[in-house]
Each structure stands twice: as structure tokens, then as C-alpha cells.
């Protein structure tokens, strides 16, 4: 009889352990996951051109975004021989600043790494297009 009693206690205790973990695991979703990027709520995020031949020096990122490229029709025009006509787009999605490469020939680099899919960036990140380097501030 005591053996059965101890067995029940043992199993109940283990159950308690896992109930605790279950409670924690339920709410862990919002605690992990990747970089939420720059939250733009109310705060201005700017794109600053650090090096490169361009007329624009800094621009406040607007919600619909800016297309950067060599074409005269680009929102931010850069005279860079290594840039494509419409090279990349920097915009705001759900309050995050996102960089899209628009199928450019030489690629778009965020912090020195080539990006092929839409990438979240944060303040202090650099975006390189050809020989032109822009920083998110």
C-alpha cells in the first residue's frame, strides 16, 4: 500500500514539473524569434548616404518606401556604375524598415552580407549598393 501511495506522489510531482514548463512554454513565443527591426512608431528613421556620388545626402524614410538606383526615375538617384537602374527598395512594412533587392546585377549588401530576400534593418545598419554606402539612422 505505501508503495502505491509513493508511486502516485511521484507521478503527481512529475506532472507538476511539466505543468510548470507548459505554462512557461505557452508564452515563450513572444520572447524568442528574430530581430524586430527598427520600430518606427512616431520616430523618424533616416537613410544617410555615407559615400557615393549623389544629390541626396539624407532622406527620411517614408512609409511607401524609396527606390534606389541609377535611373533618373529612381527616388534616390545614385551615379554609381556598379548600381542597377532600379537597384533596391527601402521601405517600411508593419512599422519595420525593410530592404528589398530588386533583382540587381551586383547585389545589395546589408552589413557586408548580400541579401536576396526582404531584410529587416535597424539603426546603425549599413546598406551597400555598388560602391555607395548608406546607413540607417
Amino acid at each position: 500500500m505505501p508503495a502505491l501511495f509513493f508511486n502516485i506522489i511521484k507521478l503527481l510531482f512529475l506532472l507538476l514539473l511539466f505543468l510548470f514548463l507548459w505554462q512557461v512554454a505557452r508564452s515563450i513565443r513572444s520572447h524568442v524569434g528574430s530581430n524586430p527591426g527598427v520600430r518606427t512608431d512616431g520616430m523618424a528613421v533616416e537613410l544617410v548616404i555615407l559615400t557615393g556620388d549623389t544629390e541626396t545626402e539624407r532622406v527620411r524614410i517614408r512609409p511607401k518606401g524609396h527606390v534606389i538606383g541609377r535611373s533618373p526615375d529612381a527616388d534616390i538617384r545614385i551615379s554609381d556604375p556598379y548600381s542597377s537602374e532600379f537597384h533596391a527598395r527601402v521601405g517600411i512594412q508593419d512599422g519595420d524598415v525593410v530592404v528589398h533587392d530588386l533583382g540587381s546585377t551586383n547585389g545589395t549588401y546589408v552589413n557586408g552580407r548580400r541579401v536576396t530576400s526582404p531584410t529587416l534593418v535597424t539603426r546603425g545598419d549599413t546598406v551597400q549598393i555598388g560602391k555607395t554606402i548608406l546607413e540607417v539612422r
Binding site: K10, L11, L14, L17, F20, Q23, H31, P36, R39, G124
Partner: protein, 431 residues
């Protein structure tokens, strides 16, 4: 999760500790006594205290770190209590000291934030290295090093007038200080270090001068191994260096080089030190060395094997047969009495804690905070991995404490300080 839910989980963890102690009392044929209440009060005071400190000085902090730390501490404490109630009484005091240390960290950083640590990074590094070397002090001094179980890790202080000796492991604190230094060093250098200058085969090689830190790390870890004869600390230290370089640069090159250096250093250690040799032999063939070096490992394996799926029940196994069951081998003791289910609960607890910690690092926007959170999580994660893998015979056994669970004041205080720093980082980077 709300602060309220967090408080609920903390109370639940404190209750778990008290229930565990009550079960131990039952199985020993005793009725409920003051120990159960004392345990609950000590846990509630410790974690409740840190919780209040969080509300006061870091209200935006992650709400999952403290409950998980309390959970792991509770399971470890139950097993310590079951092994030696005198040790458990000491551990209760250590828990209070650790909580005070955690609250102190939160208080000290309340205005300036963690970035103030960057300003003092060379002081921090100097203290860290000093602490690491402290156990090498000669025996005749007032503060002196002591050799325990073949490793020179302990420092003892003779308190004049009293016959008491205070002892602690400075290496525990040192690894946190070194992590803080590395985080601030890398926050400035990482970009340069991730620039690729050439390629050899599939590996992108950074400029040679950026290899300096890796080599320094390897040398420092090797010195610890040679002079303090401590495999675990040396491996942990090196793992932290390499892991943080990887976090900061994202270059697998550093990991590959690091692994290669571990193999080379390990081989050198194997052929030149007999204590390393004995460890490896005891690992490969513990049953053949049952009466000597393999004894501990074998007892651990027996314990885990007899635990089976749900364990013998708390207080009903024989974990006291394992040498160092309350410290290095606490995982085997848990596996014996709470079974596979209990040990999986421990592993889950650690995994969740590590996930939350790396989540904080991932979401940090500022480099220093990112590397600090990642590095601190590496300290806990790697340490847990190295010692659990040693107990499971996945790799040679190296003497390290299991964070939060093992008996030991230095370890508990350090881990609580780590949690406090992580809480602070998550407060500053709240999203």
C-alpha cells in the same frame, strides 16, 4: 506574459521546492517539519526579492527568466536536500546571498544601464584575469589557493581570530567578467573582424591580424588547463571566446579554427598530462576502470539506469552512492529519483531558459547588449551542456557545476548575477 503571471510562476516554483522537501521528509518516515516552511520562505524571499528589484529598477525586463531560474534551482535544491540536509541548509543561505547579488546588480545599473560596463572594460578584464589566477597563490599566504580533487580552483581565506575558513571559486565570477569584456571589445571590432580578405577552399579567411584574439583565447584556456588542471573551466572559457566571435562576426571560420585548436590542444594535453589521460580512459572504458577513475561515471550510469522512466521517487533511490552527487553529478541524482521524465524536465527548463536568453540577444539592437546577452547565455548553456554531457558519458567528465542546480555558493551567486544582467539588457531593449 504579464508581471502577475510571472509572480504566479515564481510562487509555483517556490511551492515545488517545498513540496519536494515534504516528499523527502515523507519517504524518510518523518512528518512535515519546519524544513518545508523554511525552504518555501527562503525561495520566496530570494526570488520574490529579485522580482521586486525587477519591478523597481527594470520594469521592462523579460518575464520568463526568473521563473525558469527558480524552477531549476528548486529541482536542484530538492535533490541536494535529499542527499544532505545540512548542505541544503547552507544552500538556502547561499540562495539568499545570490538573490541579494542579483538585486545589487539591478540596483547598480538602474540609471546608467549596462553600457556603463563598457567604460570599465579593461578594469573588468584585469579583475577577471586576476580572479582566474588567484588560486595559484602559494599556500602560506593569508589568502591562498587550494587543490581539491586534483584541480586548483579554490581560494581560501583564513579569517583571523576565527577558526573558520572561507573558500570560494573565483573562476566562476571570472568567466562572467571576461564575457563582459569580450562583449565590449567585439562591439567595436566585430565589423573589421568579419571582413573577408581571402578565400581558401570553402573557408572565408579574415585578415590574419584579427586572429589575434582567437590565439590569445586558446593560450589563456590552455594555461588554465596546465596550471589549474581544470579541463572543464578551460573548455568553457575557450567555448565562450569562440562562441562570442561567431555571434559577433557570423563567420564559421572562427568556429572551425576553434574546433581545430581544441583538437590540437586536447591531443597535446592527452599525451603530456596523466590526469587528462586518466579522464579519457575512464570515459572510453569506465567499467574497466571501475575501481579507480571510472568509478564516478559508472555510479552515475547505474543511477540513471535504475531511474528508468519515472525514477525511484524522491528519497527512495540511492544517489548518495555517486561521488559528488550534490555538485557535479546532480543531474545523475535527479535522473535516478525523478527518472527520464524528471531529467527531461530539467533539460526542457534549460532549453527554455537558453531560448529566452538568445531571444533577448537576437532582439537587441545595440551591439554591446546583443553580444553581452548572447555571451552570458553561452556561459550558462555551454556549462550545462559540458557537465550534462560528461554525466551522460557523451564526452569525458569535466568538473563543472550545473548552473542553478548544483550545490555551491560561488556558482549560485554568479548565475543569479548573470540572470540579473540579462534582465537588465531585456529591460533596455524592450520591444
Amino acid at each position: 506574459m504579464t508581471r502577475r503571471a510571472e509572480a504566479g510562476l515564481i510562487v509555483a516554483a517556490c511551492l515545488l521546492a517545498a513540496i519536494g522537501v515534504a516528499i523527502v521528509e515523507f519517504t524518510q518516515g518523518n512528518w512535515l517539519d519546519a524544513q518545508v516552511a523554511l525552504t518555501f520562505l527562503a525561495f520566496a524571499a530570494a526570488f520574490g526579492g529579485v522580482y521586486l528589484a525587477v519591478i523597481r529598477w527594470a520594469p521592462g525586463a523579460s518575464s520568463l527568466l526568473l521563473p525558469l531560474a527558480a524552477f531549476l534551482t528548486a529541482i536542484g535544491f530538492i535533490e541536494i536536500y535529499r542527499l544532505d540536509s545540512h548542505l541544503a541548509a547552507l544552500q538556502r543561505w547561499w540562495l539568499l546571498v545570490a538573490a541579494a547579488a542579483g538585486a545589487l546588480v539591478l540596483w547598480a545599473l538602474r540609471d546608467a544601464g549596462v553600457s556603463v560596463l563598457r567604460r570599465y572594460r579593461y578594469v573588468i578584464l584585469a579583475i577577471g584575469i586576476g580572479l582566474l589566477l588567484l588560486p595559484l597563490l602559494p599556500d602560506s599566504w593569508l589568502v591562498y589557493g587550494a587543490t581539491v580533487n586534483g584541480s586548483r580552483l579554490w581560494v581560501r581565506i583564513d579569517i583571523p581570530g576565527a577558526s573558520r575558513v572561507m573558500s570560494f571559486q573565483p573562476g566562476e565570477v571570472a568567466k562572467v567578467l571576461i564575457t563582459i569584456f569580450l562583449a565590449s571589445y567585439l562591439a567595436e571590432r566585430a565589423e573589421a573582424m568579419s571582413v573577408v580578405s581571402r578565400k581558401i577552399g570553402p573557408f572565408e579567411i579574415p585578415e590574419p591580424r584579427h586572429l589575434g584574439p582567437v590565439v590569445v583565447a586558446a593560450v589563456a584556456a590552455f594555461l588554465v588547463l596546465v596550471y589549474q588542471r581544470d579541463l572543464g573551466a578551460s573548455l568553457l572559457l575557450f567555448g565562450i571566446f569562440v562562441g562570442m566571435l561567431y555571434i559577433a562576426t557570423g563567420r564559421s571560420f572562427y568556429v572551425v579554427t576553434g574546433a581545430a585548436l581544441v583538437v590540437i590542444a586536447g591531443w597535446t594535453a592527452l599525451v603530456s598530462f596523466d590526469h587528462v589521460q586518466r579522464r579519457i580512459e575512464a570515459w572510453l572504458d569506465p567499467f574497466g576502470h571501475f575501481s579507480e577513475a571510472g568509478y564516478q561515471t559508472v555510479q552515475g550510469l547505474f543511477a540513471m539506469g535504475s531511474g528508468a522512466l519515472t525514477g525511484s521517487g524522491i528519497g527512495l533511490g540511492r544517489p548518495d552512492l555517486i561521488p559528488a552527487a550534490a555538485t557535479d553529478f546532480i543531474f545523475a541524482a535527479v535522473a535516478e529519483e525523478m527518472g527520464l521524465a524528471g531529467s527531461l524536465a530539467v533539460l526542457t527548463g534549460f532549453s527554455l531558459l537558453i531560448a529566452v536568453g538568445f531571444g533577448i540577444a537576437l532582439r537587441s539592437r545595440e551591439r554591446f547588449r546583443k553580444y553581452l546577452a548572447g555571451g552570458l547565455m553561452l556561459v550558462i548553456g555551454l556549462q550545462a551542456f559540458i557537465i550534462i554531457a560528461g554525466v551522460l558519458r557523451l564526452m569525458p567528465i569535466t568538473g563543472l557545476t550545473l548552473p542553478f542546480m548544483s550545490y555551491g555558493g560561488s556558482s549560485l551567486v554568479t548565475n543569479m548575477a548573470i540572470i540579473a544582467l540579462l534582465l537588465r539588457v531585456s529591460h533596455e531593449e524592450r520591444t
